[in-house]
């Protein structure tokens, strides 16, 4: 049997008509959403978008290239602070965004240099140290307002004729959609393949002609670039940034996001970021949840401490990390693929 195939199918963004249809529908819904829902929900989606962007970049590094970063909050911080500074200096938004992201990418590439010689455990320690060091350094620099932080100027979005929240929502979602598409293309290209080759066997990658150090550095740079963009937008979202915002725990939550979503998968990054953001918000007022909230308060009263309830967030994040690795190493994406396969065969 010989099938004459057009190989273009293999590199298209959408595998088939159905997925293209659903994607366009999804984008359409995103575009119309501001006219139907309250501003609060828009800001929830904005937060999700920020997490999606970081997750996309981190997943390229961790899931596709097989490196590790425990300091991604550091990159986000660099993006946020440099973006804020550039905009304060009067640079328009788009150039400021790109410049901040490029700066972050440059630092990412620099941090990637030790990765050329290091195996996993050492790299994880370096990146951990990096994340902490960034916060200390920024916290001591007067340009960035030191420990008190600095305010981020609002965007001039009046020309759109939309309320500020709505306009900001469009900025966030458009950026996110563009980055999702870029990531998909990148991973289908020779560059994405080279990343995955390095993940699976760096020795084999080098003998088939892949410049391993070049690509590892590049992967760090890309990952940092995404984090830089997310950081710059994060500043706009919060309107005020402090060193404490971008803590070590934030880095771990980013990691939890892609682990939960599914390592090495764009769908996973998106799913993971949406779910983690939602969970994070829900957990902040878990006491308000009908039945569960009462149970937790009662439990806290008798065994733990009611004033520390917010810490449930960390316990749950930790359990998610462990649980996914122990029971579903492919994360939500793996779960999704399995459900899809099940329904395709149903009812036979």
């Amino acid at each position: 049997m010989k099938l004459k195939r057009g190989y273009f199918e293999d590199i298209r963004i959408f595998r088939n008509r159905a997925s293209r249809f659903w994607t366009f529908l999804f984008i359409l819904v995103l575009a119309l959403l501001p006219f139907f829902i309250k501003a609060y929900y828009l800001s929830v989606i904005n937060l999700m978008a920020l997490n999606v962007i970081v997750a996309l970049g981190l997943n390229v590094l961790v899931g596709n290239t097989g490196q590790i970063s425990l300091g991604h909050a550091g990159f986000v911080a660099i993006g946020a602070y440099s973006g804020a500074l550039l905009m304060q200096l009067g640079l328009p938004f788009v150039p400021a965004l790109l410049l901040a992201a490029l700066l972050t990418a440059l630092i990412g590439a620099f941090l990637g240099i030790p990765s050329l010689r290091l195996e996993g455990p050492y790299l994880s320690i370096v990146t951990l140290g990096f994340g902490l060091a960034v916060m200390v350094i920024i916290g001591r620099m007067d340009v960035f307002g030191g420990r008190t932080g600095m305010s981020v100027p609002k965007l001039k979005l009046g020309w759109t004729g939309l309320p500020y929240d709505t306009a900001l929502y469009y900025v966030f979602t458009i950026t996110t959609v563009v980055l999702v598409i870029i990531t998909i293309i990148l991973l289908k290209s020779r560059i994405g393949r080279a990343f995955q080759a390095i993940r699976d066997s760096d020795i084999a990658a080098s003998v088939i002609g892949i410049n391993v150090s070049h690509y590892k550095t590049f992967s760090f740079a890309i990952s940092a670039f995404y984090a830089g963009i997310a950081g710059c937008l994060w500043g706009l979202y919060l309107q005020f940034v402090t060193p404490g915002t971008f803590s070590f725990m934030m880095s771990i939550i980013f990691l939890a996001t892609i682990v939960l979503g599914g390592l090495g998968s764009v769908t996973g990054s998106v799913l993971g970021a949406i779910v983690m953001t939602y969970l994070g918000l829900q957990l902040e007022n878990i006491v308000g949840v009908p039945v569960l909230g009462d149970v937790i308060v009662a439990f806290s009263d008798s065994l733990m401490n009611t004033s520390g309830i917010a810490n449930i967030k960390w316990v749950l994040t930790g359990l998610i990390l462990i649980g996914v690795i122990l029971f579903e190493p492919m994360g939500l994406n793996g779960l999704w693929l399995r459900v899809k396969r099940y329904w395709r065969l149903w009812p036979f």
């Binding site: 455990p121 001591r140 994040t317």
Partner: protein
């Protein structure tokens, strides 16, 4: 002044060395960098606090109780989580330790996080044991150095002169060969985690009086411990001790002569520097993968 600096360096170095040792014991046994190490120590320190201040146990009993708790914590961590990893690879293990770290952090914050604690140990930071014109040695200083030496001596005896130590070494060298020779390698790994957790707990008890007792108290010391371990070469126990002392010295010299503000970054700078120049650390052999 310089002699006071040396005392401070020795004290800090001893604590870093303990943390680095606890890290290194697990790394040697399993090649896993245990990011839960700090939180495990923090949790154990809270147990000391409760035994001591809430239940009113005498210090030595409380310490003994803590060590038993720490051992169980480490052993159970390995038994319940590490051993059950489905497709064990380095990334998976790192994520499990991070997850455990978060769980412990969250639990501690939930239970104890909101209150400020004062921690009264029999060795206080303000009581002076020994004083000359140039040097002040507090009880805490002395206790840190003595406890660190005791732990190191104990570890040395355990690893070099007992059957358990021999079995641990054998499993590190070659798990399969050890298993074929009747060594219960799984249990040995659990015990390694337990011992490491004990060493970490002692470090925690020593850290608490000089910082505050709160859930994030071990973050900074953990990074220092990692730096010391990297400096010495993660797999060399005497190397990491020297690494810890060296880090204590460099950090204090830097803080005194250059900048107190950026003292906390020295550890990170050292990690970077060592890894750039000699990735395997000062005292470990470089490892080349065979094809």
């Amino acid at each position: 002044m310089i002699s006071q600096l040396l005392v401070n360096a020795l004290v800090a170095g001893s604590i870093y060395a303990l943390i680095a040792l606890s890290m290194s014991i697990i790394y040697k046994a399993s090649e896993i960098p245990n990011f839960a190490q700090g939180e495990m120590a923090m949790f154990s320190t809270y147990i000391t606090f409760i035994l001591l201040s809430v239940l009113g146990w005498p210090f030595l009993y409380a310490l003994a109780g803590t060590l038993v708790f720490a051992f169980c914590l480490g052993f159970l961590f390995e038994f319940i989580f590490i051993r059950r990893a489905k497709e064990p690879n380095l990334l998976g293990f790192i994520i499990i330790t991070l997850g455990f770290q978060m769980v412990l952090y969250g639990l501690a914050g939930w239970k104890w996080g909101s209150d400020q604690r004062t921690f009264s140990l029999p060795f206080s930071e303000s009581e002076v044991v020994f004083q000359t014109e140039s040097v002040v040695l507090t009880e805490h200083n002395l206790a840190s150095i003595v406890l660190a030496i005791l732990v190191m001596a104990g570890l040395y005896l355990l690893l070099e002169h007992t059957n358990l130590g021999l079995a641990m070494k054998a499993s590190q060298q070659n798990v399969r060969a050890a298993k074929f020779n009747g060594i219960p390698t799984n249990r040995i790994l659990g015990i390694s985690f337990g011992i490491s957790s004990i060493v970490g707990a002692i470090a925690g008890v020593l850290v608490a009086p000089i910082s505050t007792l709160d859930p994030s108290m071990m973050w900074d010391p953990l990074l220092k411990g990692f730096a010391a371990a990297v400096l010495g070469g993660m797999k060399s126990l005497h190397g990491v001790v020297i690494g810890g002392l060296l880090l204590g010295l460099v950090e204090n010299l830097f803080g005194f002569y250059i900048s107190l503000e950026f003292k906390s970054i020295v550890a990170f700078a050292i990690i970077m520097l060592v890894l750039f120049i000699k990735p395997s650390g000062l005292f470990d052999k470089h490892y080349v993968r065979k094809v």
